[in-house]
């Protein structure tokens, strides 16, 4: 009898694992399909570019405060930690390079993307999910207007445009934060701070690669947020779960993609 119940539990467990796995594959396929459709319908949304501009305001401009404030503190902490280590080796003048490279190569794109997923990504998912729950997307369909062209594509391109700009602003404000801690507070020479930064930050290897990363993160974050909203069950619980999934999936995707992109860029 006990053996039988163990067998039943084992079968149930295997079935659940299989169901969960196939469900994830199906969702991945549905996400890829939505991504493809978004690209196909992009032309239609580009013709009415004011829709994309409006979304750049909601996703990009509205995320500015949190991104800039975070950048300022991240830059200050970087300068403090960097100075603490560098002074042991007598190279505290290199603090400018350390702050700039850390921000431009890694922290700028990654932290901005994580903040973007938390601020704009969740807003996008909740908005699309609620539009679905209140039949606004169905109403649009019934009016012979494609929700993908009218709602999804403008938000997607807004995210892709906003992310590199936000990441660039993050790096700039972060460097400013680092400067304030390193130069006026700690007393590092201002000339050394800026000149070492200028001499060691490479346009293609550092800045272009940072921009590429932030564009890739923009595509991933925005698409995840849009898909989760579009796929959310039309209930309060469904929208709430979709919003949570947006943050979790986006964060993991950002960190995973960061590793892949960094290894690719270094090997190049």
């Amino acid at each position: 009898m006990i053996r039988f119940s163990v067998l039943v539990s084992l079968t149930r467990m295997l079935r659940n694992i299989g169901h969960g796995f196939s469900n994830r594959i199906l969702r991945l396929g549905a996400g890829a399909r939505l991504f493809g459709l978004t690209l196909i319908y992009s032309g239609e949304s580009f013709r009415r570019f004011h829709l994309t501009i409006r979304e750049v305001y909601f996703t990009g401009v509205m995320s500015l405060i949190i991104v800039l404030v975070s950048a300022f503190f991240v830059g200050m902490v970087l300068a403090l930690q960097g100075y603490y280590t560098l002074q042991k080796y007598g190279s505290s003048e290199a603090i400018g390079v350390l702050v700039a490279l850390s921000l431009i190569r890694e922290l700028g794109p990654v932290v901005t993307a994580l903040l973007f997923a938390g601020r704009a990504g969740t807003a996008i998912t909740a908005e699309i999910g609620l539009m679905k729950a209140t039949e606004q997307l169905a109403a649009m369909e019934m009016m012979a207007v494609s929700p993908i062209a009218r709602v999804i594509a403008p938000r997607f391109w807004a995210g892709v445009i906003a992310m590199p700009v936000l990441a660039a602003l993050f790096s700039m404000v972060g460097i400013l934060g680092g400067y304030i801690v390193a130069v006026p507070l700690i007393g590092v020479d201002a000339g050394a701070f800026w000149s070492q930064m200028q001499a060691n930050v490479d346009w293609r290897l550092d800045i272009v690669n940072g921009v590429i990363k932030s564009i890739v993160f923009g595509v991933a974050c925005t698409m995840i947020a849009l898909f989760e909203g579009y796929d959310a069950p039309p209930t309060a619980e469904g929208v709430s779960r979709a919003t949570t999934r947006t943050v979790v999936t986006s964060s993991l995707a950002i960190l995973g993609l960061d590793f892949v992109l960094t290894s690719f860029m270094i090997s190049m």
Partner: protein, 277 residues
């Protein structure tokens, strides 16, 4: 309905079956919607009335049979073909489905902006005319969150008739409204249908209001058309299901209790009931 020439039937549902998740919702349904008439589809909750509207609008595909609009099989159309058919349709959703980020004016202007190249001055006049027809011209600056349920549905109706459609579909237009709003919507459906020369398809379970304006009524139960006729025919029907529905009786062919096992056994078998829950 007895008159069945193709030219007069703006919408036809022929031997249509539809199901999902292993459950067959409709089994071989036949319906005809005559041009210029107000036709109601009635039935209890969960009988697939709204699904029929979605099948007519091409949002769902039948598993068997067909829905025809103006002689064209809806689910055989390409995306462009379906969109072309939908431009002849207007739909009023149960909760209005107004775009919450747009004002009342912009909601009504939405289909005009999407499907026409009319100058802004003409869009302005058309929007105000449509809003005037539903009595809400004065509310054109309000946002959807500032509207009552009845007002939201009237704005949604103005949006549905913005392009002067041939077919107007109403999904539970009276649900959750106070008696005054219900009367207003009821009157608007009939008046707009006659003024626009459109065909109205109403999905509802509100007997009094629907019977007051419908020319013909279909009753859907257990996946089939259980009865059909004019409101007077159905009011006097001796069919047990129709009698129970029209007179709102608690018990009859539609049981009060959801199918369940033995009552005493459920009460005594606490653990079993919990596991099932």
């Amino acid at each position: 309905m007895t008159v069945n020439t193709a030219a007069q039937n703006i919408v036809e549902i022929n031997n249509l079956s539809f199901g999902y998740k292993g459950r067959l919702l409709h089994q071989g349904i036949n319906m005809v919607f005559l041009r210029g008439k107000v036709v109601a589809i009635m039935g209890g909750s969960g009988t697939g009335k709204t699904t029929l509207l979605r099948l007519i609008g091409g949002q769902l595909k039948p598993s068997k049979g067909e829905a025809r609009v103006e002689g064209q099989v809806v689910h055989h159309q390409s995306r462009d073909g379906i969109y072309k058919l939908r431009r002849k349709m207007g739909m009023l959703f149960q909760q209005g489905a107004l775009f919450t980020d747009l004002s009342v004016y912009e909601n009504v202007a939405f289909p005009l902006r999407e499907h026409t190249n009319l100058p802004e001055s003409m869009i302005h006049d058309l929007v105000l005319m449509k809003l005037n027809a539903v009595g809400l011209r004065g509310a054109h600056k309000l946002m959807p969150t500032e509207l009552s349920g009845g007002m939201a549905r009237r704005v949604s109706l103005a949006r549905a008739i913005a392009l002067d459609p041939d077919i107007i579909m109403y999904d539970e237009p009276f649900a959750g409204l106070d008696p005054i709003s219900m009367g207003v919507i009821c009157d608007l459906i009939r008046t707009l249908n006659d003024a626009l020369g459109a065909t109205s398809i109403i999905v509802s379970h509100d007997v009094k209001e629907t019977f007051a304006i419908a020319d013909y009524v279909y009753f859907v139960a257990n996946g089939v058309v259980a009865a059909e006729g004019t409101p007077d025919d159905l009011r006097n029907s001796t069919l047990p299901f129709v009698h129970q529905f029209v007179h709102g009786e608690k018990d009859g062919p539609v049981p009060f209790h959801y199918a369940a096992g033995d009552y005493a056994q459920d009460l005594l078998g606490f653990e079993n009931t919990r596991q099932g829950a």
